[in-house]
């Protein structure tokens, strides 16, 4: 193994360890299935290693990983295998009711609202960053956030503050 490859592997491993959970959670929110989420995660990091482009900053890497995760999640739904199979019901349990209610309420949202809500409230990304990541207008992101919140308020029956 050459030094070049060892250095690349080390840096890749560091990135994988750093962003693995982020990618996994995002993939899980998109696929609703741990098995598919694992596949998506593996695919994302495989692409990361095979990617020849250099990343300037960590934010760049993060944005790249988020986009690839979303795209891979969408592509897995298009496979014939996915269309012909029914995913196993894997129950995700939480220790509190609020966590469970909030999490599953977000999971019930449409994909585009769910993604924006997840990035905004969990990844703490700003509207501008989300718009830049998906190459959308900020107004679009804002509208999607607003509609997502409205739907969550309806589901959660207004007991939460969406700050």
């Amino acid at each position: 193994m050459t030094e070049e490859r060892s250095r690349t592997d080390i840096s890749s491993d560091e990135v994988i360890h750093k962003y693995f959970n982020m990618v996994y959670r995002l993939a899980l929110s998109q696929t609703h299935n741990t098995t598919n989420a694992e596949d998506v995660t593996q695919d994302v990091f495989l692409r990361l290693i095979q990617n020849k482009k250099g990343f300037e900053t960590d934010e760049h890497i993060k944005a790249w990983l988020i986009r690839v995760t979303i795209n891979c999640s969408k592509s897995i739904f298009k496979t014939s295998w996915f269309k012909k199979t029914v995913p196993l019901d894997e129950a995700i349990s939480f220790d509190t009711v609020e966590k469970s209610d909030v999490y599953f309420a977000v999971q019930d949202l449409p994909s585009k609202y769910r993604t924006v809500i997840h990035l905004f409230y969990y990844e703490d990304m700003s509207v501008k960053e989300i718009a830049a990541c998906f190459e959308m207008k900020e107004s679009t992101v804002k509208s999607q956030l607003h509609r997502g919140r409205e739907m969550l308020r309806t589901k959660l029956k207004g007991g939460y503050d969406f700050v």
Binding site: Q42, V102, Y103, V106, H118, Y122, Y160, D161
Partner: protein, 388 residues
């Protein structure tokens, strides 16, 4: 009010991937990587495969494409059409074994053993080689009494002449059984003249006639290979008739013989002689030479190329058995290629391309291809008209 953000974060924080999953993903990600050494060539694999496929297809298909020629240029054929008389004899004389035919161009002063058929009583009148030197232009072999000549033989000669204009037959052939060797050191036999043997003729009859040079009492043939080589197959020969050769009783000249241009030899002519009347054939008219060819011998029925006079302002720069090249001081060049062909006549077809002029036509049993570079059209036309 509880914060949505707080509970949503806590819920997602509870979701963690196992370390086993992480390690497995890392291993699979690295395992699927190609070696760094060739990784950079991955993207060229498809294009490289396509290039190899195209090149191999081109290499395979190239031989097939080269066979096709659509340039319209008549390829000059240097092949001298000289049917083997031995084959003809074999077909006509099944009883006798035919030795292999050697078709070597006679050279000057070459020694050739001429085997003549044994002159039987019944054949005396038919075999009459004349070996006396002859200064006449037209020499022939007198076959004795013309009455003895069978018409069938003339017909056979006619047939042979039509089919095989040039039948070089070594003298030694055909006279296997009945042979009288002529020890003539200087006798050469042209390819065409004597050697055209008619089909169906028995060995002891016309063979010798066919092969014998046209010799009269005054014949003094002279080999002129250089000049006669321009003519396809027809060659001059010279030789001194051996003294032991029987004289020809009748001495008919070729005065009445037709020009060698005639392909069909009339029976009456053949009855008296075998001459082909190659008065102006071959000879060395190529480039103006050939004056030395006093006695031109050629088989009666064999077509001969008409002499090609040198165009005005040109000289003969090269001469071969199938082509002649005229050149001028100004750098113009006219190449005349010829070969034996069918006996049809075709009008000259001129093709002008830039400074080159090409002409194709057939006449007198010969196919002519003329290619001129830097020459004037009038010169080429003059040449063509002189040939026709």
């Amino acid at each position: 009010m509880t914060l949505f953000r707080k509970y949503y974060k806590e819920a997602n924080d509870d979701i963690k991937a196992s370390d086993d999953l992480i390690n497995r993903v890392i291993e699979n990600a690295h395992a699927k990587q190609p070696p760094i050494k060739y990784r950079k060539y991955q993207k060229y694999a498809v294009s490289l495969a396509a290039a190899v496929l195209i090149v191999s297809a081109a290499v395979i298909s190239t031989p097939f494409l080269e066979k096709e020629r659509d340039d319209g240029v008549i390829i000059e054929e240097s092949i001298i059409q000289t049917p083997s008389p031995s084959n003809e004899l074999a077909s006509t004389n099944s009883e006798n074994e035919q030795p292999p035919v050697t078709t070597e161009t006679p050279t000057s002063n070459a020694e050739v053993a001429v085997s003549l058929p044994k002159i039987n009583d019944s054949d005396k009148k038919t075999v009459k080689p004349t070996l006396k030197p002859n200064t006449n232009k037209h020499s022939y072999i007198d076959y004795g009494s013309s009455d003895e000549i069978q018409t069938s033989e003339s017909q056979k000669l006619q047939k042979v002449s039509e089919e095989t204009p040039q039948t070089p037959v070594p003298v030694e052939n055909n006279i296997k059984e009945n042979s009288v060797v002529l020890n003539n050191e200087e006798m050469m036999f042209g390819k065409h003249s004597i050697l055209a043997t008619p089909q169906g003729v028995e060995n002891d009859e016309i063979h010798e006639k066919a092969r014998q040079p046209e010799l009269s009492s005054d014949y003094s043939p002279k080999i002129d290979t250089n000049e006669s080589s321009a003519d396809t197959g027809l060659a001059m020969f010279s030789g001194v008739l051996p003294s032991d050769l029987p004289k020809i009783d009748t001495d008919e000249t070729l005065a009445d013989t037709e020009s060698a241009k005639e392909i069909d030899v009339p029976e009456d002519k053949y009855s008296s002689n075998i001459s082909t009347g190659a008065s102006d054939s071959i000879s060395g008219s190529m480039g103006g030479g050939g004056a030395e060819c006093g006695g031109s011998g050629s088989i009666a029925a064999a077509p001969t190329r008409t002499s090609i006079p040198t165009p005005n302002g040109y000289y003969v720069s090269s001469n071969s058995s199938s082509s002649t090249i005229f050149a001028s001081d100004l750098g113009a060049k006219i190449t005349v290629s010829y070969k034996y062909g069918d006996y049809s006549y075709s009008e000259p077809v001129y093709s002008v391309s830039g400074e080159s002029i090409s002409v194709y036509f057939t006449t007198n049993g010969m196919e002519y291809n003329i290619y001129a570079v830097g020459a004037e059209y009038s010169s080429v036309e003059e040449l063509v008209n002189s040939i026709i």
